[in-house]
């Protein structure tokens, strides 16, 4: 399976995957298709997908556990804020993540909040080759509300 590298680890080698991600072709930028049964799974897969675009997660050791919290007026804003927070940590602290745990999404007075623990380590140039240069996650065509029977399935366009 030559494209296995582009698949989420959950998706590898399985016939039917309840959740996962895969990069999608987009001429100017990069697309990340993400699917999951529940909202938390969706957000986790999106974060894993983005992390894989930044570098090979198999090379990331879990040396640090960082709590991350973001808010959004609606779910779309929450998702964009979540992914841009991961990009920000990569840029400002050089952090690369391999896993995201204890992800909780709650409704608040102002919309939604997300809390999670990100597991990873600061980039070590000798071990972590640079992947895509992602500037930001965009709102282009993003709709989370439209959940089908099998769950969520959406494509996030990343500005590169």
């Amino acid at each position: 399976m030559s494209d296995a590298k582009g698949m989420g680890r959950e998706a590898k080698g399985m016939g039917r995957d309840p959740e996962g991600f895969e990069p999608v072709d987009h001429t100017a930028d990069l697309g990340l298709r993400v699917w999951a049964e529940g909202l938390e799974g969706l957000f986790r897969q999106a974060a894993l997908g983005l992390s894989q675009l930044l570098t090979d997660p198999a090379r990331i050791r879990v040396a640090r556990r960082l709590p991350i919290e973001v808010t959004g007026a609606d779910l779309e804003e929450l998702l964009v804020s979540w992914l841009n927070e991961i990009l920000y940590r990569a840029e400002s602290e050089g952090m690369l993540f391999a896993e995201f745990q204890d992800l909780r999404i709650e409704e608040t007075a102002g919309g939604y909040s997300l809390a999670a623990v990100a597991l990873g380590e600061p980039r070590d140039e000798s071990r972590h080759p640079l992947g895509a240069a992602v500037k930001a996650a965009t709102y282009h065509g993003l709709e989370i509300e439209s959940r089908s029977e099998s769950g969520y399935d959406l494509t996030i366009i990343l500005d590169t």
Binding site: V24, H26, A73, G94, P129, A132, S150
Partner: protein, 497 residues
């Protein structure tokens, strides 16, 4: 759920094709129109040649031209330049002007994340033979002096938050005051390297911290520093005015406002999402989120965007000086022998308040250029050039760049705008697939181009075949009369972030 993925891709394609192929009506050989329909407030106008039509129609870019035509207060047409391709919100290559007096809006999506991404070209006294055998060393030296890549911080000392305020307000002049380049450079920079209306209090803390870290860094992706050779002159008079001659070595820099601009855009997209609800604006795509220019939200965005634009000009000014040091060190020359002189600096991701003729009156419009370049005619406002404002069209690795000149027609037809570059025609994934098993670096070397880059994926993604023919894009603008070709530059040494 094997076909889960396929399904979604297909759905997306369907979503695109359903709406699309908005019908194109030919105006002349280089101009096509999309008639008004649905919620479009104005028609769309696309500058392309007949041979580009299939490619443009198969991309989602035309849908986005239609979407932009929905913006409140849009005047004239929703334009696309020949380098149009599917972006997010606006198409890349999109130009739209809104009238603030008629409720016209400003949209961060019409500028993009990389606010004031732009290009500068500087000429030198050198000939090709002066650098030919030193290209490898020269590119290495550029890498040593100019920081790049993911999270790279500056070669220049980290600026304080207070100093950053000054960068935000005075732009390129800040860099000159620090000893990066000379005062004369400012006269050869769009807006003299400083956009008015900048207000640092409109910029958030996170943007500030990213700005302090990243001033004087190139970034990655399609950003580059290039050593070029002037290969051909098309317009002798303009070339003379611009100081260009065949065989001459030039320096080209393509970068923008880095994380500072990305953060300003991200922050204000949230502000705009609230404004869209507050002003009850109907938009076909959330990435077009906007607010009236004359609202608190619109004003704050323009003030913050100006800060990011000024940061970008300070950044390019600084990087040019770092590149000069790299060249001097490597070639063992004096600045006088090298003769590095800024030809011009243009931005291609910006929204600006400009005076334009609408019918018989002059109105102040908010002109969005998302992947488009200002192209003012000779002797106009803010333009002392006898032959017209220089327009810099960067190619991509292995493809040529062009220097063009603004024309009278651009003012009349496109709010004084023309194309900005080649534009992708292959997705990154597609490019990587095509590059598999090939040595792109060696292929480029055979073409006489020395390349250094960070990260293998980037090079494959950015291989020349992934881009539309810049030649055809520039010729279409030339044919349409919105800019004229002056010279073609060939890359010989490339530093790629």
């Amino acid at each position: 759920m094997k076909d889960h993925g396929r399904g979604s891709d297909a759905k997306m394609m369907a979503k695109r094709t359903e709406k699309t192929s908005p019908r194109l009506r030919k105006i002349h050989s280089y101009l096509w129109e999309i008639e008004r329909s649905g919620g479009m407030r104005v028609p769309g106008r696309i500058f392309i040649s007949e041979s580009m039509i299939d490619r443009v129609c198969s991309d989602g870019g035309l849908d986005q031209v239609v979407n932009v035509a929905h913006l409140p207060g849009i005047v004239g047409y929703s334009f696309a330049m020949p380098d149009i391709h599917w972006g997010y919100g606006f198409p890349i290559g999109g130009v739209a002007a809104t009238d603030p007096a008629q409720g016209g809006v400003v949209s961060p999506g019409g500028v993009g994340y990389d606010i004031n991404c732009g290009v500068r070209v500087a000429t030198t006294h050198l000939e090709r033979a002066d650098v030919e055998r030193k290209l490898e060393a020269l590119v290495t030296s550029l890498f040593r002096h100019i920081p790049t890549g993911l999270g790279s911080s500056g070669a220049i000392r980290k600026v304080s938050s207070k100093e950053l305020d000054r960068v935000m307000v005075i732009g390129a002049r800040w860099a000159v005051e620090q000893g990066y380049g000379s005062k004369g450079d400012l006269a050869h920079t769009e807006e003299e390297g400083c956009l008015g209306g900048a207000d640092p209090s409109a910029v958030g803390q996170r943007a500030r911290s990213r700005g302090c870290e990243q001033l004087g860094t190139l970034g990655s992706g399609n950003h580059f520093v290039e050593i070029d050779v002037v290969e051909e002159i098309y317009h002798k008079e303009a070339a003379r005015e611009f100081g260009l001659r065949p065989g001459q070595i030039a320096l080209q820099i393509h970068t923008g406002s880095r994380g500072f601009g990305h953060q300003v855009c991200d922050d204000y997209l949230k502000v705009m999402a609230r404004a869209v609800r507050k002003f009850n604006l109907q938009l076909p795509d959330r990435q077009l989120a906007c607010a009236p220019v004359e609202s608190a939200e619109g004003g704050a965005y323009l003030a913050a965007m100006a800060c990011a634009a000024n940061f970008a000009w300070a950044n390019r000014q600084t990087i040019m000086a770092l590149a000069e040091r790299a060249m001097l060190e490597c070639l063992g020359m004096t600045p006088r022998d090298l003769g590095l002189t800024l030809l011009y600096d243009v931005c291609h991701n910006i929204a600006k308040l400009e005076d334009h003729e609408v019918g018989r009156e002059v109105r102040r419009l908010c002109v969005h250029r998302k992947g488009a370049t200002r192209a003012y005619p000779p002797r106009g406002v803010k333009n002392p050039w006898r032959t017209g404002q220089p327009v810099l069209i960067p190619g991509d690795m292995g493809t040529e760049s062009y220097i063009c000149v603004g024309q009278e027609k651009s003012l009349r037809e496109t709010w004084g705008s023309t194309c900005h570059g080649a534009g992708r025609m292959m997705s990154r994934k597609g490019a990587i697939r095509k590059a598999r098993g090939r040595n792109i670096k060696q292929e480029l070397r055979r073409l006489g181009i020395t390349v250094r880059y960070e990260g293998r994926t980037t090079l494959a993604e950015e291989m020349p075949e992934a881009y539309k023919d810049v030649d055809e894009v520039v010729r279409t603008c030339h044919g349409a009369g919105i800019s004229k070709m002056v010279a073609r530059l060939k890359p010989v040494g490339v530093m790629k972030g």
